[in-house]
């Protein structure tokens, strides 16, 4: 233990080490604060939905109540859906800044609505967010390199290595002690602020422990690399240069190459094609006999088939039916698109097993539920909710029941858990 204390004192006398540890502490805390601020902004935006929504629906209810037409109610009412950030989201914001976490949908064709984005500044999104995941994946390795690249070579260059190797508890033991000490300090600098922030945010203890282990594993990987390079008995400078080059390749170059490769391997017919096809199908309904559309609709939704036949005048149930038929006509394309997205995600995860930088990023974002998989799961929730919305309005439309003010409150509410 005394030896460890001495080593620590020795380390903290180095200006470089103190500056590095101090800087990493500041960066970690800043990134955690930035992430928590962003998440609390998102939570506030979600919390502000009901007030805005009540005002909006209230105004629609006021004039729909005169005619009590369920079609107008369904046509004009937007219903909010949202994706509450997980407690851990602050650590890895992932795609939450570019994927909409609030989306309002109507009971009309969903495929024309579900790909809509929210307002964000693309120039700000381009460089990526400054969050804990960034500090860990991008910056922490540089600090490992700065502290560990000259553990042996530095002593050798100072002419002390032979003496140190000859001491009891010297040599390999000394060098192991120094490596572990540096690792422990870096781990503490990253892990302690993270654990505090996570505890404040209400992250489960097992998740905190898992991420602490993840941090340690990632630091170990980089320390291991430093040790391997150190074995080559090059000069300190050569060690530092080759480690920094490795960092560049592993953290910057290979992931971007991976991105190109994935998008090449799994070409996705742009989602725009779904929207184009859906719009054709929906608008085509105006040019064919309405009975044909209704026939198709009733075939897949027999529970409404005993509804009264259409008269000469416009009826909203036909309008809603052709929107649904339009959605159903592109369901193959949607499935294909979805499969493409999922296989892209799968390959990226696979890459994570080979490239620690990607591995840590994917693990963090998937634990924080801010990755593509979480986005797709959220889309599924919206799909379910939209189905309930449709059924709710159909209950009035196809049974010709009046839709009064009170009925607005009966509309199904979005529920993330379902």
């Amino acid at each position: 233990m005394i030896l460890w204390m001495h080593e620590a004192r020795l380390l903290l006398r180095q200006r470089l080490a103190v500056i590095a540890l101090g800087l990493l502490t500041v960066l970690t805390m800043a990134a955690l604060a930035a992430g928590m601020a962003e998440i609390s902004r998102q939570r506030a935006a979600i919390a502000a939905i009901p007030v805005a929504q009540a005002e909006d629906i209230g105004a629609i209810a006021a004039w729909v109540d005169k005619d009590k037409d369920a079609g107008s109610a369904g046509y004009y009412s937007f219903h909010p859906t949202w994706d509450t950030p997980s407690p851990l989201a602050f650590a890895a914001l992932g795609m939450r800044d570019v994927a909409p976490y609030i989306l309002r949908v109507r009971a009309l064709g969903l495929e024309a609505q579900i790909y809509d984005g929210d307002t964000f500044n693309p120039e700000l999104a381009l460089p990526g967010r400054f969050d804990f995941a960034f500090v860990l994946v991008f910056l922490a390795p540089l600090f490992v390199i700065a502290l560990c690249h000259d553990l042996i070579s530095g002593e050798r260059e100072a002419g002390r290595w032979r003496t140190l190797a000859a001491l009891p508890n010297g040599g390999a033991a000394l060098w192991r002690r120094r490596t572990w000490l540096r690792l422990a300090l870096l781990w503490a600098v990253l892990g302690v602020p993270f654990a505090v922030a996570a505890a404040i945010s209400g992250v489960e203890i097992t998740a905190i422990l898992a991420i602490l282990l993840l941090i340690l594993a990632y630091l170990l990987f980089w320390a291991g690399l430093s040790v391997l390079i150190g074995r080559l008995r090059w000069s300190s400078v050569a060690n530092a240069a080759s480690l920094a080059a490795l960092w560049l390749v592993l953290v910057l170059v290979l992931p971007t190459l991976g991105h190109v490769a994935i998008n090449r391997a799994v070409p996705l017919e742009q989602g725009a094609e779904i929207a184009l096809a859906q719009r054709e199908a929906v608008n085509h309904a105006w040019d064919i006999p309405r009975e044909k559309t209704m026939g198709r609709f009733y075939a897949s939704h027999p529970q409404w088939a005993n509804s009264a036949p259409l008269g000469a005048a416009f009826h909203y149930k036909w309008y809603f039916a052709f929107h649904q038929v339009g959605d159903e006509s592109v369901s193959d394309k949607v499935r294909e698109y979805r499969r493409g997205l999922e296989s892209r995600d799968r390959i990226a995860r696979g890459l994570g097993w080979v490239l620690p930088s990607i591995g840590v990023q994917t693990l963090l974002t998937s634990m924080a539920r801010t990755d593509l998989a979480a986005q797709l799961a959220h889309r599924d929730h919206i799909h379910d909710y939209h189905r309930r919305l449709r059924e709710f309005y159909y209950g009035y439309l196809f049974r010709d029941r009046p839709f009064g003010k009170a009925d607005f409150e009966r509309a199904p509410q979005f529920d993330e858990e379902s």
Binding site: L27, A30, A45, A52, Q53, E55, W63, F78, M95, V98, P100, R104, D116, G117, T119, N121, P122, E123, L124, A125, P127, G128, R129, F130, L139, A146, D150, V237, A240, A241, A244, A245, L252, P255, T256, L257, H259, V260, I262, N263, L268, Q270, G271, A272, E273, A275, R279, N283, W286, D287, A312, Y337, R344, I347, L351, I358, Q361, T365, D371, L372
Partner: protein, 479 residues
């Protein structure tokens, strides 16, 4: 041969003998080539897809059967933003903005289907483009090759030997600068050549290309100067290396991420839900088309009746419903413009804040320069959105006008079995509607937008050069 040239030749020979340096340089050139090739084919793919979609969308619009004009207002049209040739070099925000837009009546839609929404998280590591290689990777290679240029000589005591042999301090520094400058040129050459070929074959404007070449040339020259400066000031080459890597990490990796975060906190954007609710609220105040007693629309009706000198809308020579649609669209569009204008202005403010940070981080300045010249920055995207909105408004109002003039009020309000047929206007009308053409900003405008960034980098180069001149005078002194 003068001393500086000799020293440069010597330094280059040393680099050539260093196997790691040679491999690293070769890898970088290879990476640039891969970036150019992949970026080029990616852009071509996007370009083809957009052209195909645009064509299909236009054909579909023209091929619509007889329709009630208001149906066409809702049928709307899809437009796609074509990218300039330089987007291959720096695609900028394209992957984030999306590039297709659905235009219809009563709604101002956002651009959809950005690559980012169908990509994995890897996209957040950066995109492999020639711009990325020159902005981010090339400086680090120069650091590896140049950190020891002078520090090595100081450390080993060879600097004094050189000086004793009659090489002046200036000559030594100039020689090292020249050697590293040659490497920088070699590194930039593939990307620059690709850029020139791109410009020549696509008929793009020369000025933006010149701005990009000048900007990136200055950027690399700035790094060469900084590297020699740090190398001349450091006592040990390891200190020089660590200092340079730290400078690089802060200015190229850290600040470009921190600055946008700070800007987005300082100027929050209103989200879509709040905007839509606010627009609906304003709309109710301005004129509620659903309210038969609404003061605005009552006044509108009176003024129309007065203008035509009749007492009932049924007696109007035009279809009153069409006039109502025109008036309604005018009101909603004005609101849309106001709200999107406010949001765009807020985003411009955010970007201006980031650019202000660019004064201390030339990497940010270079990034804005590059995107501005390539026409892939927010300003260019905003230009597209505004043109799209102008086109949408024009198209919708033409259709509304058609409803006013081509469909009678009696038919439009009839609900008998044959009414649907009588409400429709001929299909040949759709072909007569103008297609959307995007007017890309001209070369001079793009180059002009790149100028501020260029000035910042040039300023930094001047500062670094001055510091180097100062450091040169003190070089080799015992410290």
């Amino acid at each position: 041969m003068n001393a500086a040239a000799l020293i440069a030749r010597d330094e280059l020979r040393l680099m050539r003998r260093n196997r790691v340096a040679v491999i690293a340089s070769a890898l970088l050139v290879l990476l640039t080539l891969v970036a150019v090739a992949s970026s080029w084919s990616h852009q071509r793919g996007i370009e083809d897809l957009r052209a195909r979609h645009q064509h299909a969308a236009e054909r579909a619009f023209d091929a619509q059967p007889d329709r009630h004009p208001h149906r066409m207002v809702h049928y709307g049209t899809f437009i796609f933003r074509p990218l300039g040739a330089l987007a291959t070099f720096d695609p900028g925000v394209d992957a984030f903005t999306g590039n297709s837009m659905f235009l219809e009546g009563h709604q101002q839609n956002t651009a959809n289907f950005g690559d980012v929404n169908q990509s994995t998280l890897l996209i957040r590591f950066g995109q492999l483009t020639p711009a990325f290689v020159l902005q981010t990777v090339a400086p680090l290679l120069l650091i590896f090759l140049g950190y020891g240029a002078i520090a090595r000589e100081t450390e080993r005591g060879t600097l004094r030997v050189l000086m004793m042999q009659g090489a002046t301090r200036g000559a030594i520094v100039r020689g090292k600068l020249r050697a590293l400058g040659m490497v920088a040129l070699l590194v930039a050459l593939p990307a620059f050549l690709g850029l020139v070929v791109l410009t020549a074959t696509s008929g793009a404007a020369i000025l933006p290309t010149a701005a990009i070449v000048l900007g990136y040339g200055t950027w690399l020259l700035l790094w060469v100067t900084v590297i020699v400066l740090v190398s001349a000031s450091a006592c040990r080459s390891r200190d020089a290396l660590l200092t340079l890597v730290a400078i690089w990490a802060v200015s190229v990796v850290l600040l470009p991420r921190v600055a946008p975060d700070a800007a987005s906190v300082a100027v929050p954007l209103k989200n879509r839900l709040q905007t839509e609710v606010a627009i609906a609220r304003d709309l109710r105040r301005l004129g509620d088309a659903h309210d038969p007693d609404d003061p605005h629309f009552s006044a509108f009706k009176r003024s129309v009746l007065q203008r035509y000198g009749v007492t009932r809308v049924e007696d109007l020579p035009v279809n009153y419903k069409g006039l109502l649609a025109i008036e309604g669209e005018r009101i909603t569009s004005a609101l849309f413009d106001r709200y999107s204008g406010a949001s765009h202005a807020a985003q411009e403010t955010q970007n201006a804040m980031v650019r202000a940070v660019g004064v201390v981080s030339p990497a940010i300045a270079l990034r804005s320069l590059s995107m501005a010249a390539a026409g892939t920055d927010f300003a260019a995207h905003r230009g597209f959105l505004e043109q799209a909105e102008a086109y949408r408004y024009d198209l919708v109002q033409r259709l509304n006008r058609m409803q006013a003039d081509g469909v009678t009020y009696a038919d439009d309000t009839a609900t008998d079995a044959g009414a649907d047929r009588r409400k429709r206007v001929g299909a040949r009308n759709w072909e007569a509607m103008p297609d959307f053409t995007y007017h890309a900003p001209g070369g001079t405008a793009l180059a002009a937008r790149a100028l501020p960034g260029l000035f910042v980098i040039l300023g930094w180069l001047g500062l670094a050069a001055a510091l180097l001149a100062f450091a040169t005078r003190r070089m080799g002194e015992r410290r």
